[in-house]
Point group: C2
Chain length 364, copies 2
């Protein structure tokens, strides 16, 4: 039930409950502290500098970014330690951007190819400090990353030869998103792959200080001996996907989209003003529809158009009226946050602030 006065809700709008965020931040930090594993939360989920600050104040060692653009927003906000967990190609305008960032903050960058490493080195040129890099490993998602320890050593040696400072290894066990039972296996893969690569690199003469794993479903499962850092992102807001994967509880859902019922075309049907431009079309195979209406759990957002969401509800159940405001928990919160210029910040039912989504659109 939406307790926020409608006068505050110019729908569709993104609402973030700061009480829940703070609880999520504290909980994961405490759990990882208990294991002696560092947390470097991913910025791409929330893109909000104030939340990054909360994470750092709670004990995070730094922030993970997905793009140079996100890292620039963090640097601009005075956040000093950023790892871009991406095999950045530092060509074109990105060469200068990378060099600038390297001069301003304690930057580290992902690398998964010799070509990428050499281009990073060219971009930073003769800077007094070599650029820190972490070699990416593929733990089974089959997206980016060296396929095995031997390939990781080849990348690391090319990076060293180019003048980069190889500090560690990282991976993302995103195959944890395949379903509810996938998390444990993906975490096992993350740990196995990272420890093998770490040992291979140590054997090749590298001083490996970081072995970084990360996804929200594997965040505690991968916090094992030898793993130094976890890079979970979604845990801070959570979404329907995390709920279905069993990696978040309902009281850990911190973000939702407020939408207005604009039409009721027939029995058991309503149309809301949140469509693909506010909910996205992100829908994992195990999800029905394009979001969860927590106050109408049997409702299904069957179709989304740019500005319309077509919802079915049990015809005999309670039906919101035209003009009513409903809450929608996104299937996948990361691309949803990226659609909004601002987030309405609430604590319980009270609006306490409105924040710009600082890194919205910083996809490169």
């Amino acid at each position: 039930v939406v307790k926020i006065p409608a006068a505050h809700l110019d729908t569709p709008c993104l609402v973030i409950d700061l009480d829940v965020v703070e609880r999520n931040v504290r909980r994961l930090q405490a759990e990882l502290d208990g294991r002696g594993v560092a947390l470097r939360p991913h910025f791409k989920t929330h893109k909000l500098v104030p939340i990054a600050r909360l994470q750092l104040e709670a004990g995070a060692v730094g922030i993970t970014a997905g793009t140079l653009g996100e890292a620039e927003v963090l640097a601009e906000a005075g956040i000093h330690d950023v790892f871009v967990a991406y095999p950045v190609w530092a060509g074109g305008p990105k060469a200068d951007r990378l060099r600038d960032l390297h001069e301003r903050i304690r930057l580290s960058v992902g690398v998964d190819s010799a070509e990428g490493a050499r281009q990073l080195a060219r971009a930073v040129g003769g800077h007094r400090l070599p650029l820190r890099v972490l070699v990416e490993l593929d733990a089974g998602l089959h997206r980016t990353g060296a396929a095995d320890p031997a390939a990781a050593v080849e990348v690391a040696e090319a990076a060293r030869a180019a003048g980069l400072d190889v500090r560690g290894v990282f991976t993302h066990g995103g195959h944890a998103y395949a379903g509810r039972s996938a998390g444990a296996d993906a975490a096992g893969d993350e740990v196995t792959v990272l420890l093998a690569a770490r040992d291979a690199l140590a054997g090749a003469g590298f001083e490996i200080e970081t072995a970084s794993a990360g996804s929200t479903p594997t965040r505690m499962l991968s916090a094992q001996p030898g793993i130094t850092e976890i890079r979970a992102g979604t845990y801070v807001l959570n979404d329907r996907q995390q709920l279905m994967l069993g990696s978040a509880e309902p009281d850990e859902l911190a973000a939702w989209v407020a939408a207005t019922v604009v039409s009721r075309p027939g029995p058991g049907q309503m149309v809301i003003d949140a469509g693909a431009k506010s909910l996205t079309k992100d829908r994992a195979d195990y999800l029905e529809g394009f979001g969860l209406l927590p106050d109408h759990p049997d409702a299904v957002i069957q179709r989304v158009f740019d500005y319309h969401g077509a919802v079915s509800l049990p015809a005999e159940g309670p039906m919101p009226a035209i003009g009513d405001i409903v809450r929608v928990v996104p299937n996948h919160v990361c691309p949803v946050v990226d659609l909004f210029d601002t987030a309405l910040i609430v604590r319980g039912g009270d609006v306490v602030d409105r924040w710009p989504v600082d890194a919205r659109g910083r996809s490169g």
Copy 2:
């Protein structure tokens, strides 16, 4: 082949070829002029004021918007005649926004319920000019709109009783997107439904000046006697979906996303830096993958993550190198434009400008 110098391309970035845009604008305007049917192009596709101006200069009678936010951007730019083709619920902050717009420009708004009509009337209050409304009809998409002429008359009578100025009827035959053969039927439905509703409203004493149909696939098929206006939007940029539906030719594709190859994990595989936050996950059932690489037509963007696109190519064919820039034509261009703050404007291979995406994020 990307002829634009890499120094201009900070990937992922949105590129719009203005030569193609101008040709698309002129062509549809001329075709509709030939039928004596007005064009009121939809702003939600391009969200660029300069393109709206091109459309008006070519002869469009006004602009269609999907939200009050888009209409505000148009009003701010001095564009005077805007139809919001949406059943706007004018509650909360939208009441004042609607009233302001009604004072500033020649605004008309969609309506498909008596409740919605009464709320529109409350919002504009005792303004000296009644608000113009068009009654929406469902032509078969089953999204919004009165189900039949009798229902349309009921909505129109409620609107008139509330003090609104009922000027016409409109529909969107979006079921044209079901597949290549769906356009003709959807156009037939648009025409049939609008003419029947027009006649019913005339019989109930309404002076109906506008019968407005619209979608890009039906844009010419629905330009029949009695239909006064077409509201196509996508035709100006086009996308892979329009190509597959047979409603655009390859030389009418005006927009693409430039992306850099950042990784080559194995034979026939590459990863580009355009993912779901720049291409969306929009994918009609009849499309394979998340975009078209026109210079590598056998490539398939198999998976998109926030910042990664995982592409497969024939292993024996030419493979772009890490660092190469490739073009991606979006599956559905409307939500893609909405992800970018700026568009790089080119003519052929030359960069001529960079425009802000004026109405980016104006989803409400």
